[in-house]
Structure formats: structure tokens, C-alpha cells
Symmetry: C2
Subunit: 590 residues, 2 copies
């Protein structure tokens, strides 16, 4: 992204007609998000950048490309997405988002950074100059999410964050948890200062704050948020000088709330951007990516130029990159969507940094075959052998039953609630109770650091036999496993160890389905996005054989041990009461 | 401007009510330029920054200040002003602009930088922590304006520019001349790359460009301009992704043009800021500074919140400092205007970085007495003694008259036009011709470098006797002198030498008025702005004694030798044809 002398000189020479442009796109209607107009224009391109949009320019071009009267709009920007929680590698992600017109993905690699630490950023950016879209880095701050309450593979130190902040590809310090601000953790405040002092911004993540807390949070220099669910929360943020990222992901769908209220009450969209936060590839395929946000906003009554501006120039200005992208104007990268309608945007062509990257329903650049470095493919290690005995839970001496406080899952939610149950004791061990739908759940530390195995019970998973396991328990990314017997739990965890990460379903000691996620234990190496989708769906199907009726059992599994998701979070270190961020005892001692 | 850990922690603690704020402004109507609302609020302040604007916050404050129901709006930002062409030092400037509500002045020190080079920036910022307003640096690029066509005191190199760009106080690379872009001068293109690559912007100055040239100019990464005089020029800039600085200075008054057209044609003000460029202190006193732009826009039909936004948050966002100022929101500096009306903004109080700096018609902070460093007070040096003989102009041998091409001044304009005249020759010397209003004009090199004295004739100054001289001939800042006889010209220049810079009027060998400008030969050391105004007016009066009828004779004088102002520019090195940037001969050789 650095601007160079040679590139700039070449642009100027092209613009003055001294040397020819590479090509000109003609016969098109330009959506100018700077002047907020649509008019007939040409787009002259040299190398990666736009030379001119002047229909009457006396310029030469080596090729003329007729756009058949289509609209030309700037490539879309997703202002916040967790690329590394999608299981998709950056190369395969291209197949999902580029056909939808996304040319910039502002990515927070928080999940995998908890495994690998800072070096993951370089790995994810390795193909930055070959990918048909741009990854803009939001430096992960939740590494770890809950220090002292979980074992993680790595942390990102102040010095490491500073180094990533200094990279060209970096646009911000990523979503920072309120606890890290409101409890004034110096390392995190220092990271904020460093980001602001090098001219970059700080993204918010103000879940569960009171207005007064939100205000204190904003005062630290945090200038956006994507966590507003109610209109009042959104308005609070606007009033405090924070931009609202209007989120429309797979689960969290906040767009209608914001758009309908803003239109009804007469608020401007000037301080808004679009994001998805988390969106499954099959949802992107079915309904779209950021173009879905744009289309939905238009359907709700936002005028198309404004909706397109939210997805382009608004984000570019907010991230302070508008000299480089976000509009189709001279000097900016040629990130261009060509489409027939601006009421329902379905790209016919997508151009990225001057290259045609999507056409006729297909990504038009070669698939990138790559081998990830060995260290990132080898992140699952056990300090001690995993055996069924590790999953036994002794009862207090002399008890024939025990009372426990455990998480009860809530349908279609990632939050759980505290549930008090009485469980039987047999041979001195606390037992499952299928009659109450209470199964054993464990978090197995998988960085080879301490061999922790936290054994718990969970109500409501609906599993009846066998076991399911996954090497991504948010956000410490230890192995989470839930099973009807200790042998299958042990077998499932061992299979994950053999695969070096992934998803497993075991029944009667036999692996009936598995999906390897070898990049950090979280991400697939598969180059075809659609194959990854198929594998995920097959894993969900396999879980049905255990009796589980949840629609996305592995995703549910991955959130049970999340120390920032209420109310209870069993980690490898203990049972966390999320509200107090303290450990509590699962088994009541009388 | 660096954000520090301690300051941030203190803000958070205040915001959570753990420690008291310094004070709270209450009973006020907050103009929130982020949500575009006006509502009743409180402003809690700790140190330099705003803690909270929540009227219901459970916070404590050491003092409560009742604002009697006044409006509270963010301090105004002048997005571009030539502080060093005003003759006023930064300390005295406070008395002019702070009472009008300006708390940030984006200053291009191009004029004095041509004398002193880069070190002037530190001198101008020396009292930055004491001044009641903020100087934001736009790194001067026109140093020199016309290399090879003028002798200047200094240049700013690529390395020096890079150093200034890295300073906290710097917001941009300053207005860059089109010639430096369109002729691809590598040093200047490199400065642009450096500014963009460190996250700062580049200001435009696209005088006299065709649309195609403007487009090539914009493609270099220049994202604003203040030089649009016609609506079509403004619209061109908006379409090219440049922000329009709506200028309303002493001479250039472009605001009604822009505002009336934008309102009539339905264009947004989102990509606009306000500036004055050049505004005399007596004009600021009489009609206002940026508040005048705001008030005039409102009078023309812009709604007050929008007009105030242009003067505040729009500029802050454009310069990428909106996390620090431009709105009254938590974490931003407490730069606050309190006023009774938002239709005609006349501040009753002004607060800057938490300090009350204006109240009851008076600047409320102590005047800053300072001594400028000796090197900047000693910038007028002659390589050889100045004598009347230096102003003689020999005719070609054997001629009884000569034909000359000379500048003819145009009333109320800084541009001139080529005029061909026949002048008498006496004793082998070319003579003045009072009958044609043609007097002698000279540029005397004053850096002690080469002793150049360029001697010319100029038509239209209306001087009949004596001589006037000024040590600021734009932008090389050599001494310009115009007189009815060579003896008075010599005397005037020598007086400037004795004063080490300033303005002089001489009649019959006697100095009848003078005004010292000892800081770089351009700026007064006087601490009272109003005394500077008095002195300027007295100098203009003194020029009348010479018979001159021009309203601002010294300003006119200072633009005659400007190599970027059409059509002819006599410099110390020769007569510049501004269009071709080549020297031409004044005296025609047959």
C-alpha cells in the first residue's frame, strides 16, 4: 500500500496523455460516491490505479473495454470480519466474497492469534499480492480474552502489537473488550495509545456496557462499534462520536433495526459502515456478503448512492485509507464492481487493483495452491497421554449424590444459564444423567503447556451416545469435547491430536466423521471453499447419529467454554462465572 | 498531541466516577456534530479533555460552572491559513482569532520558510503549550516557489519535510503547486509519498489547471483544494475525490459561490471544510474569522448544525484528527465555544484544551512576552553596499529611446499584464516616464548570497515621488522597492537593512514612515495585534504622501515579483514570463 515515486510519476504521465494507460473501461454509468452522482464516464487504468474518470479526456489506452452500459461502483469493504473463525483460509475465502463484490476485508485474526501469537499475521498476508481481494488488518487485542482464566497458545505483547500496527496492511487496533478498558489494564491502554499515535484507529466491541461505561470506554479513543443490537445503543454510540458498523452476519442481524430507525427518525448515515462480523460461507453464497447489506438497506428505503457509500467511501474514510480506495476517482486503486442494477447489486464483473478477478460467475484468477508453514500446521500437543481416566470426576468422599452448578444451553443462542442439578455418584465418581440431558463436557489444554483437563457437566446438548470434539473452544482454542462416555471422549480428543486439529464425531470408539483443520487447529487447508462447506455440513449430519438435534452442534460446542459469553464458562483452568470473572466450584460442598 | 497512558487512565477513572473531574459545564445546549442534534447536556472535563457529555452521569466534579442556557459547540478549525503572511506573530494572532471561536489554525508557514528553511517550524511552535489555540502544521512545499528563477534564503529538503511530517503537530503536506506535480519534480512527488505513507494528507493549490491537469494532479494523492473560484471548478474537485475548502478571506471570497450553488443543485456539504487562506487582522476583527464563514453560510440557507459541522468535525475528519478534536464527545480536547445564538455565532466564552481562554470580550490568558532567537531576527543581509548607482539601467549603446515589456498593474488584482512601452534614454540610461505612470521597480536580494539587484519598470503604481519598499516580495521574500528616483529607492532599501526587515516610505531622502518586521523580515514582534493593525494602516497612509492612490500599496508591491502570479514577475534574477516560467528580456533589442 505504500505509495511510490515511480508509481505516482507514471500515473501523472498517463493522466497528461504522455504515455498510454493500460486500458479504459467505457460505456458505463459511474457511481461517484464523492459527489454522490451517477453519470456516464470512462475509467482509465494504469497498473493498479485509476488514472482518470473523465469521459472527454484526451488519453490513450492500450485496450478499450466496452461495459455495455453497466453501472461501475467501488469495490465493497467489510469493516469487520473474523476470517479465522470461518474455518476458511484466506485463499479459499476469495471464492466466497469476491463474486459478491467485496474487495477489502478488514480482518481480525483474534482466534488463530490465540494459538500462534503475532506471527500468524505474516502467514495470513503471505499471498497478499496474489489474492483477488485485500486483507486489511485489525490488530487482535483479545489475545488472550481472559488472562488467568484460560490457557492459550500465545499472547500478543505491546511490542508485537506495535510492530503489526506499523505495517502498511494494518488499519486499526481490533475490537477491544470493555473489561480491558474499564479495568484500565495498562498493556491494553498502551496499545490504544500506540495505534492512535501512529495515525490508526481503534475498533470497539462494547458488549454489555451501561451508558456511563460506554462513555468512559469511548473516552479512551475508541471510535467505532459493531455490537449495538437496539436503536438506543446505536444512538448512544453516534452521540459519543463512535461510528456505527451496521452488522449483518449469519447470526447477528442488526441492519433492519438501524436502518428503519435512522430513516424514521431522520438520522444521517454519514457515520456508518457495514460489516458482517461472522458470516458462514454457505450464507455468503446464498444471500451475499456486503452486497447483501447494501441491497437490504436499499430495500428498506435507503437511496442506492447512500447505501453504496456506506459500503465504500464511509469505511475508507473511517479507516483513513480514502486516498487509496473507497471511491472511483483518480489515484485510487481500480477496485470496481460492474453490475446491471443498483437496486439489487449482483456483480457481473469485479476488478481488484486493476485486475479482472470475477466474471461470468467465476473468480477469474488462478486458485492459489500453497503450503502453510510447518509450525502453524502443528499446534495440537498434549502434555500427557489422553486416556478415559482423565475424564473421570471423583465425588467428595462418602457422597451418594452431588449437587452441581452447570451451564444449561439455550436454544439458538451462544449464551447459557446457570443450572443447579443433582447427579448420581457411582464407585466414588460423579456420573452423567441422560434423563436430565446432562452429559460430560471437558476442555483439554492442547498447547502441551500444562496438561490441564477441565471436566464438567453440561445440560441441553441433546447428545445420547458417542462424543463430539472440536479444537476451537472460543477464544483459548483448547479442545472442547462432549460425550456420553469417557472412552469416546478420549478417542475423539486423540483423533483431533492425530489430525492436528479439527472436528470429530466418535461412536463406540470409532471415528464416524472427521474434518481436519490443520492451520492452527482452526482453519482448513482445502483450496475450494465449496468443499469446506460440504465438509461442515457432513460433520453436522454426523452429529445427528449421536442423537444430537442442535442445528449447528460444533458451533454450539465451541461457545460453551468462552469466558466472555455469559453465564458460565468451563475452561481448562476451572469454571468461570462470566459476570464476576472469578472461578466458582461446580460441585457444591455441604 | 500524543495520547499517553496516564492521561487515558485518568480519563477512564473520571468517566467511571472513581475520581472527580476538574469541572462540569452545566445548563447548556450541546451542539452534537456527530449525531447532528442539539440537546441539553453537561460537559465534564478533566485536564485537557472531555470526560462525559451525559446529563445524567453520576460523576463528581470539583467545580460546577453554570452556562446560563448557552449553546456549546466545538471550537472552529481554519483548514488553511498563511499565518506568516499576516505580519502577525503566533502569540499576537491569539487576540484576533480566539475571540471569534477559532481554536485550531492549520497554518502553512511557506512565506517565512523561504527565508529561514525548516527550523522556523520549531520557532513558531515554541509556545504551543501556552497559546490559547492550536497550530496544526501544513508542511510548506513552495520553498522555493520557483527554483532557478529567484534567490531564496532557504529551501526545505525531502529529509527536512519528512522530519516535520513526523511531528505530532503536523497534519498535512501543505498546498503544492500544480507545476511541481505536472512536471513531475521528484523531490515534490517524494514528499507527497512520504506524507501519505505516514498517514497524513496532502493539500492542493490547483490554480489555473485544465480539468485534465486537475485530474492528473489529484491522481498524485492530493485530496483537497481551496482555489476554486467558479462552481464548475468546485464540482470538478468534488468529483475527483478532493475536499473543497470553502474560502472566505480578505481578498478571495468564494463562499457565496459555493454555498448558493450547492444548495440550489442539491450537493452535500460532507466533503467541505472552511478556510480563510489570507485574512487581515482588521478584517477578522470587523467581520470575524471562521465564525464569519459559518454565519454567512447560515445566512445563505445552510442549516446551523451543518454549517458548524463544516467548521469542526468535517475538517477534523479530513485531517484525521477527529479522535482528538472537532466534536464535543468523550476523549476529545475540551475546545468549546459558548454562545447565545447559533444563527449568528458570536462567542461569549471560548475554552481551549480545558482552559477558559476568552470571556467578556477579552482573551482570558496572559499575553506571552517572548524573545525570538537572534538568527531569525537577523535575516536581512546585503552582499554589497546599496547605493543609488545600483538602480541605474544602461540603455543599449547609441539609443535615444528603448522599447520595453513591463508589468502593468490591474486595479484590485494581484495579477498584472504585459505592457509594451517606449521609454526615454538620458546620459545612456533608461529613464522613468511619469507621464505614462511608469516608475522604476527593483528586487534586491537580501540573503547576502549574490548581491543581485534586478532593476525594472512597472506601470500603474500611481506613485509620483519618493519610494516605498518592503522586505517581502512573494515568495522569495527579497526586498521589493518602487520609486520616483534612485536615491530614495536606495535610502528605502538601506532603511530596511537597518531595521532587519519591514516596510518603509521615503521622500526626498528622508524616512517618513517605517514599520519593523524583524521575525524573518516578515513578521512583527509586537505583542498587541491591534498595534500591528495601527502600524499597517499608518504605513498605507504614508504611501499616500508619495501620491500613490492604491488602497493597499505595500500588498500590491509584494505581489509584483511573484513568479507564480501572471503575467510578468520581475525577480532578482530576471524578468519571468510566468506562463512559460522562462526569463525574457525587458528591453527589446532591435
Amino acid at each position: 500500500m505504500k505509495r511510490t515515486l515511480n508509481e505516482t510519476n507514471t500515473l501523472i504521465d498517463c493522466g497528461l496523455g504522455k504515455i498510454p494507460c493500460d486500458y479504459v473501461l467505457k460505456n458505463l454509468k459511474l457511481v461517484n460516491v464523492c459527489s454522490r452522482e451517477i453519470y456516464e464516464a470512462k475509467i482509465f487504468v494504469k497498473g493498479k490505479r485509476i488514472v482518470s474518470i473523465d469521459p472527454d479526456a484526451s488519453l490513450t489506452a492500450e485496450r478499450e473495454i466496452d461495459c455495455d452500459g453497466m453501472y461501475a461502483l467501488p469495490g465493497f469493504i467489510d469493516s469487520h470480519m473474523h476470517l479465522s473463525s470461518s474455518m476458511i483460509n484466506p485463499e479459499a475465502m476469495a471464492q466466497a466474497i469476491v463474486p459478491k463484490g467485496t474487495t477489502t476485508l478488514c480482518a481480525d485474526f483474534m482466534e488463530i492469534a490465540n494459538v500462534t501469537g503475532a506471527p500468524v499475521v505474516d502467514v495470513m498476508l503471505e499471498n497478499a499480492d496474489k489474492l483477488p481481494y485485500r486483507i486489511a488488518i485489525e490488530v487482535p487485542t483479545r489475545v488472550p480474552t481472559a488472562p488467568g482464566l484460560e490457557t492459550t497458545g500465545n499472547i500478543i505483547s505491546v511490542e508485537e502489537a506495535r510492530k503489526i500496527l506499523s505495517m502498511d496492511a494494518t488499519v486499526s487496533l481490533g475490537e477491544i473488550a470493555p473489561a480491558k478498558i474499564l479495568h484500565r489494564t495498562d498493556d491494553n491502554i498502551q496499545k490504544i495509545c500506540d495505534s492512535l499515535n501512529c495515525g490508526k484507529i481503534v475498533n470497539g466491541h462494547a458488549v454489555g456496557c451501561s451508558y456511563q461505561e460506554l462513555s468512559a470506554y469511548a473516552s479512551a479513543g475508541i471510535t467505532d462499534d459493531h455490537e449495538q443490537v437496539e436503536w438506543e445503543e446505536a444512538l448512544d454510540r453516534l452521540r459519543l462520536g463512535m461510528h456505527v458498523f451496521i452488522r449483518e452476519g449469519s447470526a447477528e442481524r442488526n441492519l433492519p433495526m438501524f436502518v428503519e430507525n435512522a430513516l424514521k427518525l431522520g438520522y444521517s448515515f454519514e457515520n456508518t459502515c457495514f460489516c458482517t462480523d461472522d458470516k458462514h460461507v454457505h450464507d455468503i453464497e446464498a444471500e451475499g456478503h456486503i452486497n447483501h447489506n447494501v441491497n437490504q438497506a436499499i430495500k428498506l428505503g435507503v437511496d442506492p448512492i447512500t447505501a453504496i457509500s456506506i459500503a465504500t467511501i464511509n469505511a475508507a474514510k473511517h479507516f483513513r485509507v480514502d486516498q487509496d480506495y473507497g471511491s472511483l476517482t483518480p489515484g485510487r486503486y481500480a477496485d470496481i464492481i460492474l453490475c446491471r442494477s443498483i437496486e439489487d447489486i449482483q456483480p457481473e464483473q469485479v476488478w481488484f487493483e486493476g485486475r479482472k478477478v470475477f466474471e461470468e460467475g467465476k473468480v477469474a484468477v488462478e486458485k492459489i495452491e500453497r503450503t502453510y508453514p510447518e509450525w502453524i500446521r502443528d499446534t495440537v500437543h498434549f502434555k500427557r497421554p489422553i486416556t478415559p481416566e482423565l475424564f473421570r470426576l471423583p465425588a467428595p468422599a462418602g457422597k451418594s449424590s452431588v449437587t452441581v452448578t452447570i451451564p444449561e444451553l439455550i436454544k439458538d443462542q451462544i449464551v447459557n444459564k446457570k443450572f443447579t442439578a443433582t447427579l448420581p455418584v457411582k464407585d466414588g465418581l460423579v456420573m452423567r444423567d441422560p434423563a436430565q440431558d446432562i452429559m460430560k463436557f471437558a476442555i483439554v489444554e492442547r498447547y502441551g503447556k500444562n496438561g490441564n483437563v477441565g471436566v464438567y457437566f453440561v445440560k441441553g446438548f441433546t447428545l445420547e451416545r458417542g462424543a463430539v470434539a472440536y479444537s476451537m473452544s472460543h477464544n483459548h482454542q483448547n479442545i472442547c469435547v462432549l460425550g456420553a462416555n469417557d472412552e469416546d471422549m478420549s478417542a475423539a480428543v486423540n483423533e483431533i491430536g492425530r489430525m492436528k486439529g479439527g472436528l470429530v464425531t466418535v461412536i463406540d470408539g470409532k471415528v464416524i466423521a472427521k474434518m481436519p483443520l490443520t492451520i492452527g487447529g482452526l482453519i482448513s487447508e482445502e483450496v475450494e471453499a465449496k468443499n469446506i462447506v460440504k465438509q461442515i455440513l457432513a460433520m453436522n449430519e454426523s452429529a445427528k447419529v449421536t442423537g444430537c438435534t442442535l442445528p449447528a452442534p460444533f458451533m454450539t460446542l465451541s461457545f460453551i467454554g468462552h469466558p466472555a459469553v455469559p453465564q458460565l464458562a468451563p475452561t481448562d483452568m476451572g469454571l468461570v462465572d462470566v459476570a464476576t470473572q472469578q472461578f466458582i466450584s461446580m460441585i457444591h460442598e455441604e
